[in-house]
Subunit: 345 residues, 2 copies
Amino acid sequence: MKLAILFGGASYEHEISIVSAITVKEKLSRFELSFIFCDQDHKFYLIDGTKMKAVTFSRGEHRKMPQIFLTNGGFEQRGLFGSKKHEMPILNLIHGGDGEDGSIASLMDFFHIPFIGPRKEASMLSFDKHYTKWLAASLDVKTLSYEILRKEEKREIATAYPFIVKPARLGSSIGVSIVRDASELDYALDVAFEFDNVLLIEPFINGVKEYNLAGFSARGEITYSIVEEPQKAEFLDFEKKYLDFSRSGNVEAAAVSEALVAQLRESFAKIYLPLFEGALIRCDFFEIDGEVYLNEVNPIPGSMANYLFEDFSAAIHKLLASLPQKKSIRVNYDYIHSISQAKGK
Amino acid sequence: MKLAILFGGASYEHEISIVSAITVKEKLSRFELSFIFCDQDHKFYLIDGTKMKAVTFSRGEHRKMPQIFLTNGGFEQRGLFGSKKHEMPILNLIHGGDGEDGSIASLMDFFHIPFIGPRKEASMLSFDKHYTKWLAASLDVKTLSYEILRKEEKREIATAYPFIVKPARLGSSIGVSIVRDASELDYALDVAFEFDNVLLIEPFINGVKEYNLAGFSARGEITYSIVEEPQKAEFLDFEKKYLDFSRSGNVEAAAVSEALVAQLRESFAKIYLPLFEGALIRCDFFEIDGEVYLNEVNPIPGSMANYLFEDFSAAIHKLLASLPQKKSIRVNYDYIHSISQAKGK
């Protein structure tokens, strides 16, 4: 089965996308894989599978490989004697900007290229943590209380210390800080405002239980991963997260009650359906006093959360066979015809 | 000054986009205009200005004109002896799907083409009337109460008759009905569900005062149009709206108090800033008991609401000179370098 892994992007998470792609390559060896790299200028290159190493990109060696161009139905490789078309479904593995903000989804849809990944609405609502709060509230999925701080506003925060400061529109913990008291505030805000003009502020709950659950919908039912209790650090900084994106070994399911698993799955399904159809997503939850709270939606999780699936290859196979179809709209010019006729010409 | 009008699109509003473009052409004669038609298959054609007539498209005559392709920085016209690049800012005049759902915004941003029109986030939040409710609520802008009905749900509606049924994601009154009693309900829902799986239901207030206000931000301040009291029909059906999109004569400002104008502008500014920067939008309001309610945001209003501006050409000129810049992200491969060094290779 053919599949092209699309990675890179003009994003703060460009490097971890490369790491993710290299990891997923190993896990999907049963597929007939292609690799499409999107550079920071939005040029696409078809990468030789044997060169799928991080240094290929950091050294700029991808520029010696064939450049390809988006065209209706796929990517086109142009040559002196005509062009060659590469038509296959895409696995969108561009984390952060471009990949998760709706750009790649819009491009794939517009050019009629089937793809695994969040559609544009799903991207937009999950890329901005503020909008995710609106989404969760509308679906009766609990989240922590929050406030929004904009760059141009006075730095007044109602949330009690300690709290966590996050740029609204970045993943991978970039620009995120825990603020324990007033002395740490300005620095944390300065850092976060480097990455976004809008910040999300949430209470920081020391020692809160965290659970991650991935899944996707195919053939009318959701396939869930195991529930993972992620490694206990206060939160993952970028370097730890970077290593996290190269995870490939399977993990142990968290030792949790069936009732909790059911609650996590219920919240996952509320968020997932129907908005995220076509994507394999990971939802990160908190458990507080027996209640499940959504922390984050990762619509393109690091290395596709492969380590949470017993048979990741089979999972991708199943999802690929069940991608949502975009409703096609045919234009019939009825009104123009009737108006032209009325005018007698 | 160069400007290309982009119109058409795979959308239920394809035809009114053509009408809009023809109207705007006349109003922007001071510009050096180009015309780019997007057909229902997402092929782009460079249209001869003298052929900018509705029948050109309904008869398929555009297919005899040069096909052009999206490329970094503009559109490319390919020929036997190389290609010609068309680089100019774009006025996104594709109404409805493609133009207003974030697709065109994503494409223009991705290919680094400056454009007038809503950016992708603004598009997605205004294209779906449900999300517009969330946006307005977060900004303390009043809207009518509403409920959501999904196709798969039981047809139970809590709103009292009469109410209005709208597909969540369409403009131009397509699929919209007023439902006066239970006997009219099923038909209205059937019609609306033809166009979307999600409907918005709002109370219908007979004789409510309506006011439209357009505007845009440039050089740090908002330029407002006059306030219009739109023609009094229960609501505009598609045919009336179609004619509405070809409006070019200036209208009279509504006879309203300065206080009301100030209220309308205040609500407009709350919605507009900073989300809609780069776009000229029209907000449609209700006035109920002296209070202003947002009815709809039109991020690409019919014929760009040219008839509400005293000097429309000057308005577009001003907006074009003040388009938002997308923050460019440079990738530096610091992590890959440090990891490669640690590995000693």
